[in-house]
Amino acid sequence: MNDRVERLDVPILMDEAWHYASGEAMERFSTGLAARRIEALRCDGCGRRYLPPRPMCGNCRLRMTHWVAVDDTGTLEAWTVVHQPILDGRTGEERPSPYGMGLIRLDGADTTVNHFVQTGGPRRQGVTPPGPPLFIGQRVRAVWREELRGAMDDILHFEVVEP
């Protein structure tokens, strides 16, 4: 490489905003969230209760129309504590770390929800500090935002239910 050659760098800022349609199933689900209600779609073929609800069960290749109620309590099926700063896909801002994450099988659903899991003391500025170790099979419950907006982050995080 020749040190005397100055390399050209062309900076371009990408600042695009798309408008996404929720679809009928997600619209009903989101409306439910605003009333602290969680609903899943059940496949009439295999009986699997899907979160997020979507038009079709990909395994059976059947349209789904059968809604079932789901609780805001569930079981931790997988967990991690993320130490690396990660971008929030909505804001483009880095999320403060560390924070707990889990796959939660809500009572009444068959798929799992990926969401923040509180692993220790009180949540500050979206940060969940590491705390007592999490384990698969642990019971958890949703902690809801006070003012509900009909979006997935109406659930702030899941907290461990003491046995």
């Binding site: 990909g58 993320v82 896909g89």
Partner: protein, 384 residues
């Protein structure tokens, strides 16, 4: 399908940042190397396939700009993109296009120039209603799945660290590899920074700038251009449902890779993969994934993968060397990573793998992994 073979392979030097070249020049570097390897000139190429995940560079339809770099100008060009399997899907698409009879010589090239974009932003563009608020990239997703794999007793962190050591030591013999660490030890892996429990820095693949190309040819052309063409014995692709929560115990079940490899083994007449295969280049985005893939690929029984790596079965001198190149753990330009797997497998059959050459490579496996569990499987052999 008529007989089809890989007759030439080419790769760039892969690195964290290749700011000495543009994206088109990066692709050109790999294409030129593949053409030279196949003893062909650009005019011989009849069609081009390009693999790339363009949002990582903040682009759309990048083949419009980069296609010329792949000698695509004035030729039929298509771009393939399927997440992590982009590269293997691009290679399989090339096999099908030559297999069709429409073309006799096709160049397939995959590339990624992560340093020119913002990969995390690209990774963050998931379902805006469901998990964009909480998604934590490939790292978070893998950590979740790995927690289940570890809890089920299928691997220890020491066994995972052995995979990291094997990969980076192998990479030291691969002149193209990004991370080359000939003296890496298990202790160093275990001392590396915790990224997302239980995944440490050295458990994860890097982000690399790089490109890789293969030249795919029909029967007669293949024999003319390579004394030992790498014949396509089998291919299989399986996609899956699209949310991480849809896939129960992903690493433990991995139904896509299980089904795809079973299908490919049948096509290729493989009954015992560790005995029948001479080398494997598998797409392992993290150490634990390599162990999980051993199980899904039938290299061992469920829960035995850790012992396989402990016994050195998959080391360079073992019964089935896995990733002599250093794998994705050492080099990961996403759109190229799958092409690299196929190129490395082909290169082994050609007998041109230099210091990373395994002994007597007559049957080689290459796999791709993408999104939450998409799988591609390719088997190449020294006989058509």
């Amino acid at each position: 399908m008529r007989s089809v073979a890989v007759v030439g392979t080419g790769q760039t030097k892969h690195a964290r940042r290749r700011d000495d070249v543009s994206q088109a020049e990066l692709v050109r570097e790999a294409a030129d190397a593949a053409l030279a390897d196949a003893d062909m000139c650009a005019e011989d190429i009849e069609a081009v396939l390009i693999g790339n995940m363009e949002l990582f560079e903040g682009r759309g339809l990048p083949e419009l700009w980069v296609g010329g770099g792949a000698y695509g100008t004035g030729k039929p060009v298509m771009k393939v993109a399927t997440g992590g399997t982009s590269g293997t899907s691009t290679a399989i698409a090339a096999f099908h296009q030559v297999g069709s009879g429409l073309f006799d010589r096709v160049l397939a090239v995959g590339f990624e120039k992560h340093s020119e974009g913002h990969t995390q932003t690209g990774m963050a563009l998931t379902d805006p209603f469901w998990d964009r608020a909480v998604a934590s990239g490939a790292l978070g997703n893998f950590a979740l799945s790995v927690s289940q794999y570890v809890a089920a007793g299928h691997a220890t962190e020491d066994q995972a660290a052995l995979v990291a050591v094997k990969a980076r030591r192998n990479a030291a013999r691969n002149p193209h590899a990004h991370l080359q660490m000939p003296d890496l030890t298990v202790d160093e892996v275990l001392a590396s920074k915790m990224l997302a429990h239980p995944l440490r820095m050295l458990d994860m693949c890097p982000q690399s700038d790089g490109a890789a190309a293969i030249i795919v040819a029909s029967d007669a052309v293949a024999r003319e251009h390579n004394p030992r063409p790498a014949w396509v014995k089998a291919t299989a692709t399986r996609h899956d449902q699209c949310y991480i929560g849809d896939l129960d115990r992903r690493l433990l079940s991995m139904r896509t890779l299980r089904d795809a490899s079973a299908h490919a083994y049948t096509q290729a007449g493989i009954t015992d993969p560790v005995r029948d295969l001479d080398v494997a280049e598998i797409y392992e985005p993290c150490t634990y994934a390599e162990l999980a893939w051993y199980e899904a690929l039938g290299f061992c029984e469920a829960g035995e993968a850790g012992r396989l790596v402990e016994k050195g079965v998959t080391s360079m001198t073992g019964a089935l060397p896995v990733n002599p190149s250093g794998g994705v753990l050492s080099t990961n330009p996403v759109g190229a990573s799958g092409v690299i797997r196929v190129a490395e497998a082909a290169c082994q059959i050609h007998g041109r793998a230099g210091q990373r050459q395994v002994e007597r490579a007559d049957l080689a496996l290459a796999t791709g992994y993408g999104v939450y569990a998409w799988a591609d499987v390719v088997v190449l052999g020294s006989e058509p």
